[in-house]
């Protein structure tokens, strides 16, 4: 019973959600199959809707859906307007605008072919699903929780990000408050004339707030040091980053695979040691750190598997395979042909991918905050809430 309870209360480690989403994002690069992409998008949205918390950041998925739709619409629009034609199936033709000599190679208007349009939609869909994967991670993982998992040496930086995250909504709130207050004064200046005074008020408000926050943090012991002086950490870090960069450069530009790999590994290890050493300077501990359990590993593993299946199966060379293997895996289905046009197909490996996208569902439990009815009523209404509309014209 106790185990059951902690299971429901505990949310998944934020980095696990990011691992899953990054796996999907990488996989998306290996396919243009619209059926697979759309199904993956749907599966992700279902996971988000069933597993998000009811905190503010969890509502961001709508914004990402809109952004994805916008990306598709823009790509199609520009393809119709100025895209290069390919294929022969002309759907309709726009009047072509003759362009001067120096603009050679650019076409404005003209015939629109089904082949070019389909290819564009496939491409756009890929980008849209990629955006959606990031959106899903954002909606599922509390950004503050994710920042709490950074190494201690980056502690100050992560605190700065957390503070910055809270500043944006505060700025909006004070902007609305000042705007409302100025209306009370009968000052209805609009446009540029209104920007100066409003910005001044908001800025002074923001500075006041940051000062009180800084004061609060100082008074509560932020940045207390353990008293151990750090010597040589900076040198270790700089040398390690240099070594890692050289390794990366060699790996990409030459055939010296062994040396490059060794340098890269040495550099990364050096950075890790440096971060750890620098972190020891602070005596900060974590309250209820998110544990990494088998569930987290399984969720990340599903993301990794998605990427591996799509990239590996899609990358197979059909002529080199036996006919049975071809029939089973159908590697070509991951990149359906658009010239000549062919119906995309949903194959066996794709169904496995989809199953892996929804794999977090049976592994985790829904997380909804339970607010007792009594305290819900005490919701604070100190001043008219920002989302109450103003009726003034």
């Amino acid at each position: 019973m106790a185990e059951e309870r902690t299971q429901t209360l505990r949310s998944l480690h934020p980095l696990a959600w990011w691992g899953w989403a990054i796996g999907i994002a990488i996989a998306v690069n290996g396919t243009t199959n619209p059926l697979l992409l759309t199904a993956m998008a749907l599966a992700m949205v279902i996971v988000v809707l069933l597993r998000r918390s009811d905190s503010p950041w969890a509502r961001s998925v709508r914004a990402y859906l809109l952004l994805a739709a916008f990306v598709i619409a823009m790509r199609v629009f520009f393809q119709i307007l100025i895209g290069a034609p390919s294929g022969t199936t002309v759907l309709f033709a726009l009047p072509q605008v003759p362009l001067p000599e120096w603009a050679a190679g650019i076409r404005l208007g003209g015939p629109v072919t089904a082949e070019a349009l389909t290819a564009t939609v496939y491409e756009a869909l890929r980008l849209a699903v990629l955006l959606l994967a990031i959106g899903a991670a954002n909606a599922l993982a509390n950004p503050r929780q994710a920042l709490r998992s950074v190494p201690a040496a980056l502690y100050e930086a992560s605190v700065a990000v957390v503070v910055a995250l809270s500043v944006a909504p505060q700025l909006i709130e004070s902007a609305q408050r000042v705007r409302r207050a100025r209306r009370l004064r009968g000052d209805t200046a609009r446009g540029l004339a209104a920007v100066g005074p409003i910005a001044l008020s908001i800025l002074s408000d923001a500075i006041d707030r940051s000062l009180s926050l800084a004061e609060g943090m100082e008074a509560r012991g932020f940045a207390r040091t353990a008293g151990r002086p750090i010597t040589g950490t900076l040198t270790v870090m700089l040398v390690s980053v240099l070594v890692a960069t050289m390794g990366g450069f060699l790996l990409l530009s030459t055939d010296a695979g062994w040396l490059a790999g060794a340098l890269l590994v040495a550099g990364v290890v050096g950075v890790g040691v440096g971060l750890r050493h620098a972190g020891a300077r602070l005596s900060v501990t974590r309250y209820r750190p998110q544990p990494w359990r088998s569930t987290e590993t399984l969720v990340v593993a599903s993301g990794v598997m998605i990427a591996i299946i799509v990239l590996a199966v899609g990358g197979l060379d059909p002529p080199a395979l036996s006919s049975q293997a071809n029939a089973l895996l159908q590697p070509t289905a991951f990149q359906p042909s658009t010239d000549p046009l062919a119906w995309p197909q949903l194959t066996g490996p794709m169904l496995v991918v989809l199953a892996l996208v929804v794999a977090p569902l049976p592994l985790t439990r829904p997380q909804h905050r339970q607010i007792p009815e009594a305290s819900r009523r005490e919701l604070r209404t100190r001043s008219p809430r920002p989302h109450a509309e103003l009726v003034r014209r």
Partner: protein, 529 residues
């Protein structure tokens, strides 16, 4: 526990020292109350205890401040975090994390307390302040009293031996304030904490104080027993006013003390004579006003009338819909139902036309000010109101506040700023004046001045509605009172009736003289002569 030895402090660009050769001691386990007018240096003194002054504020400090044997000269505030817990005026602004539980753990994380011990202390602290059911709530959704308790819990979890609170109840309704102060006294008695607390509304805390520090405003600090220091000070909470009136040698600190003395002396007054209020014409009538935010109903079908020449106060706990009602009456907030001022609904007019009928001074009055000088603000107000040049400046003088036109509004005191905003709003010659929490941050003198201003405006025929948590102020200033709860007006009547019929909202003198409805020192003077 805390000792100040010959401490002087001067801000960088200040003309004189804020603290001048100050020496005093605060014993362990004491509740020490810091009193003084606005700008007398209360906040500076509090911040000097954990070293925020001068480490964070700048300025020069001489002398020695010792807390638990540690000097603030050698220890930065962060190093004293395990000894002194500090809660600022607006707890929401000092919050670092976003949920209650994380906020309570934050201080301990900085101190490097082991996770297991931290877990235990969070639970203990949640129970100690009675906020266990709020643990997962976002901080911004809490009511003012809840936020204040979370802020106290957050510093207590680090187990400091001293708790410093800067006006912890200034934004709270009487019940929430009593709640927070109750929690603080429990901590003193059960945990043995030393508490240093600044407060304007002395009547709320005086009875629990062991010692008092009075800052007369000239850099001195007078320390001593509450009764003696209070008699010497120029601050007059109602009970001190009563003691002065009856020429008692010692100021009673609690209603109980005062009542015993009154009974012992056989002073049993009858109700003070109250003139039957003249029949007045309605300046504003509102019917069926409703305001909702999403699925939260802030105001639920309220009907009310404000009369010319009458001052009405609106009481009620935090979040009961007072502010929303005021904004709706002004017409600046979308609402259902209708408001009528001289036959016109202000919400159907433009902002400029509406403020000629009804004007509102919001809770954060400073939001209305954005120009670099008082003079520029006045000129702008004249232009906005189509008034003759100099109108606003003349109004300001009429309100009894002389301000140098070259001063920056941001440097004004709370009371001066309120007067400036009031003058700006009155320049449009409205029929109805709405004031939202005007007494927040005002000391006794500033409150008395505000009460006089309001009385003058009402005599001039203006209808005034004031939303406030300050029952003593309501008793002084208003004829009629309304109490709101859950978006509805639950009681309406003469101030004497409304305030004496409720325990939470009864002014101190009403409790002393119950069952007689004596609300203020002035009324006590009338009936006891």
């Amino acid at each position: 526990m805390i000792s100040f030895e010959q401490v002087s402090f001067r801000y960088l660009d200040a003309a004189g020292p804020t603290l001048d050769q100050v020496s005093f001691q605060i014993a362990e386990g004491d509740l020490c109350l810091v009193i003084g007018a606005t700008g007398s240096g209360k906040s500076t003194l509090l911040r000097a205890i954990n070293g925020l002054v001068p480490h964070f504020s700048g300025g020069t400090l001489s002398g020695r401040v010792l807390v638990n044997g540690r000097s603030t000269a050698e220890n930065r505030p962060r190093e004293l975090a395990d000894v002194v817990g500090f809660v600022g005026q607006d707890p929401l602004r000092g919050f670092v994390t976003d949920t209650v539980e994380d906020e309570i753990a934050y201080g301990m994380e900085q101190l490097g307390i082991a996770p297991a011990a931290m877990r235990q202390r969070v639970e203990e602290t949640l129970d100690l302040l009675g906020i266990a059911d709020l643990r997962r709530r976002p901080l911004t959704e809490l009511s003012g009293g809840q936020q204040q308790r979370v802020a106290i819990a957050a510093v207590l979890a680090a187990r400091p031996s001293v708790l410093v609170l800067d006006e912890p109840t200034s934004a709270l309704d009487p019940t929430a304030a009593a709640d927070v102060l109750g929690a603080i006294t429990t901590l003193i008695h059960e945990v043995g904490l030393t508490v240093v607390l600044a407060e304007h509304r002395l009547e709320r805390v005086l009875h629990a104080a062991d010692s008092v520090l009075w800052l007369p405003g000239d850099g001195r600090v007078v320390a001593g027993e509450p009764a003696t220091v209070l008699s010497a000070s120029d601050l007059r909470p109602p009970l001190a006013g009563l003691a002065e009136l009856l020429q008692w040698p010692e100021t009673p600190l609690s209603v109980r003390q005062a009542r015993r003395r009154v009974l012992a002396e056989g002073l049993l007054p009858s109700d003070p004579p109250r003139p039957i209020p003249p029949v007045r014409s309605a300046a504003l009538t509102a019917t069926d006003i409703g305001v909702r935010y999403g699925d939260v109903i802030a105001v639920a079908s309220v009907a009310l009338a404000l009369h010319t020449g009458e001052v009405t106060t609106l009481l009620g706990r935090n979040g009961s819909g007072k502010s929303s009602l005021l904004w709706a009456l002004q017409g600046a907030l979308s609402h259902t139902g209708s408001v009528s001022v001289a036959g016109v609904d202000p919400s159907e007019l433009s902002a400029t036309a509406a403020r000629r009928l009804v004007t509102l001074v919001p809770q954060t009055a400073a939001d209305l000010l954005y120009l670099p000088s008082v003079g520029a603000e006045c000129d702008r107000a004249d232009a906005d109101a189509d008034a003759a040049s100099g109108t606003t400046a003349a109004l300001l003088t009429e309100l009894g506040v002389a301000l140098d036109p070259d001063r920056d509004p941001r440097d004004l005191s709370e009371g001066q700023r309120l007067a400036l905003v009031l003058a700006i709003q009155l320049s449009a010659e409205p029929r109805v004046l709405l004031l939202d929490e005007p007494t927040r941050g005002l000391d006794y003198r500033a409150k008395a001045e505000l009460a006089a201003i309001i009385a003058r405006l009402a005599d001039g025929g203006m209808a005034v509605l004031i939303s406030t948590h300050d029952v003593e102020f309501a008793a002084t200033v208003s004829e009629r009172s309304l109490i709101m709860a859950e978006g509805e007006i639950i009681i309406e009547g003469s101030t004497a009736q409304v305030l004496t019929s409720s325990v939470a909202y009864a002014p101190q003198l009403a409790k002393v003289f119950a069952p007689a409805a004596v609300l203020t020192v002035t009324e006590a003077e009338q009936v006891l002569r």
